[in-house]
Amino acid sequence: MTTAVEIDDLSFAYPGADRPALERVSLMVPAGESVALLGASGAGKTTLLALLDGRLLAWRGRASVLGAPIDPDHPPSRDRRADSGFIFQEFALVERSTVLRNVLNGRLGRMPPLRAVLGAPTPSDLEVARAALDDCGISDLADRRVDSLSGGQRQRVAIARCLAQEPRLILADEPVSNLDPARAAEILTLLTGVAGARGATVLFSSHQPDLARRFAQRIVGMRGGRIVFDVPVAELNEDATADLYRDGVSVSDVGLRAVT
């Protein structure tokens, strides 16, 4: 398999919204690459990542993830959900459970259903979880409850939970925007590092051009639900980047106002 993500002419609108959240988006991400989605709030980054994670239905166009098409009418199977890991801006951890328990939650999609409900990990599940903790530098926190951790530590736990899924694609939605700049660079170093070591593809979103430039091989600029550029880091154009955050109305806005 050589492509991790391949989407073609993809459009999606949230129910009741007057404008599409994604409009005729096409994108190809080769396996093993690290790609940043760059854009302002509302550009469609979160929607695109959620769609690739199989959490949105009723979109139009074609999309395949890890070599197999995803279905706009049905949620993906447990196996396929486990194959792509998701890292949330707000960590999305079970606060009252321990770090190890949270990381083992990443194994649930890999366990038979009954074992998953009982939460009885096999020795190999534990081994995978321990290795993930180790890679994220938090082995010493394994028995701590998540609600006693700092933001940076929490995001390490979330990355470890994702690694416990043994994903081949990691989707990360603004993984560092809740963290201070030093912590943000640390977490992205970790994320791209562990993904690279495992040969997993990373697609992360950010609204900070400097972080995108530092940690991605390729940058995809989004604005108003469309992809406006898709370039290797070396070719990133300052003007085009600034354009993503430009205030004012786009041509389509003007058109909408003219008719309403």
């Binding site: 199989g54 959900r81 486990a82 890991g85 998701f86 009252r96 649930l108 999609g109 409900v117 939970r161």
Partner: protein, 252 residues
């Protein structure tokens, strides 16, 4: 402005009318009201010193009250788990949770003592009607609390486990339950405390427990014995409160 003043006058007239009506039709004599204070004081005086010889009855009655509260609470928990899930906005559709919530509100509106009297009529004297009454009455509140506990958990961790490939039951067990467990423990202990307090008086209508002795001694003018039983009840309530506080710290 005018209509507000008119509303004030109307409300004042209504309240005054209600008070006058209550006085006029309750056969109250001023002399009897004046002497009520000293009479109550004298009555309390007859309760002292409390008679300690009723220890056996206290132990027997307290044990029965405790058993009624424990089994009544158990029954309420068993009824509240499914009803709580069915009354939850995040687990079932409005078609289901709306009628279930209405049913729970109706259950809460029926006074415990009325349920107990009906149960005594239905199944006879003793602890059984008390247990049934407590289980029924407590479910109205406990199932509502459980539903609120389910609906109160953070949704993001649940979504994260779904994204990782966990099924609905695995998500309930590993993302929802850890978040709601302390709330369920706190609410259940709170309801048990209320059940224990409320079951103390069930004996008065024949539904078993220590209340039976208070009623018996007051009716037979053995106020010193009634005082001992009352003191025992107070000690029990304080003890329940202390245990509750300790448990709350543990689960916080």
């Amino acid at each position: 402005m005018r209509s507000r003043r008119f509303g004030g006058i109307a409300a004042g007239t209504l309240v005054a009318g209600a008070v006058l009506w209550s006085f006029a039709t309750s056969d109250l004599e001023v002399s009897r009201m004046m002497s009520a204070g000293p009479r109550v004081a004298e009555f309390l005086g007859r309760m002292f010193p409390p008679d300690p010889t009723v220890m056996d009855e206290i132990v027997k009655g307290s044990a029965e009250t405790l058993r009624i509260a424990i089994l009544g609470s158990l029954g309420a928990v068993i009824l509240s788990v499914p009803l709580g899930i069915l009354a939850s906005e995040t687990m079932v559709s409005p078609v289901l949770y709306r009628p279930v919530r209405t049913l729970l509100a109706f259950i809460r509106a029926v006074p415990l003592i009325l349920v107990a009297m009906l149960m005594v009529g239905a199944v006879g004297l003793g602890p059984l009607p008390g247990i049934i009454a407590i289980a029924f009455h407590a479910t109205g509140m406990l199932a509502k609390f459980y539903a609120e506990a389910i609906d109160g958990v953070a949704r993001r961790p649940v979504a994260a486990l779904e994204s990782a490939g966990a099924g609905p039951l695995a998500r309930l067990r590993h993302a929802i339950w850890p978040q709601m467990a302390p709330v369920v423990a706190r609410d259940t202990i709170f309801r048990f405390e209320l059940n224990l307090r409320e079951s103390l008086i069930l004996g008065i209508v024949g539904a078993g427990g220590i209340g039976f002795y208070i009623q018996t001694y007051v009716r037979s003018f053995q106020y010193d014995k009634a005082a001992s039983v009352t003191l025992a009840v107070i000690v029990m309530v304080v003890a329940i409160e202390a245990i509750n506080v300790a448990l709350r710290r543990r689960f916080a």
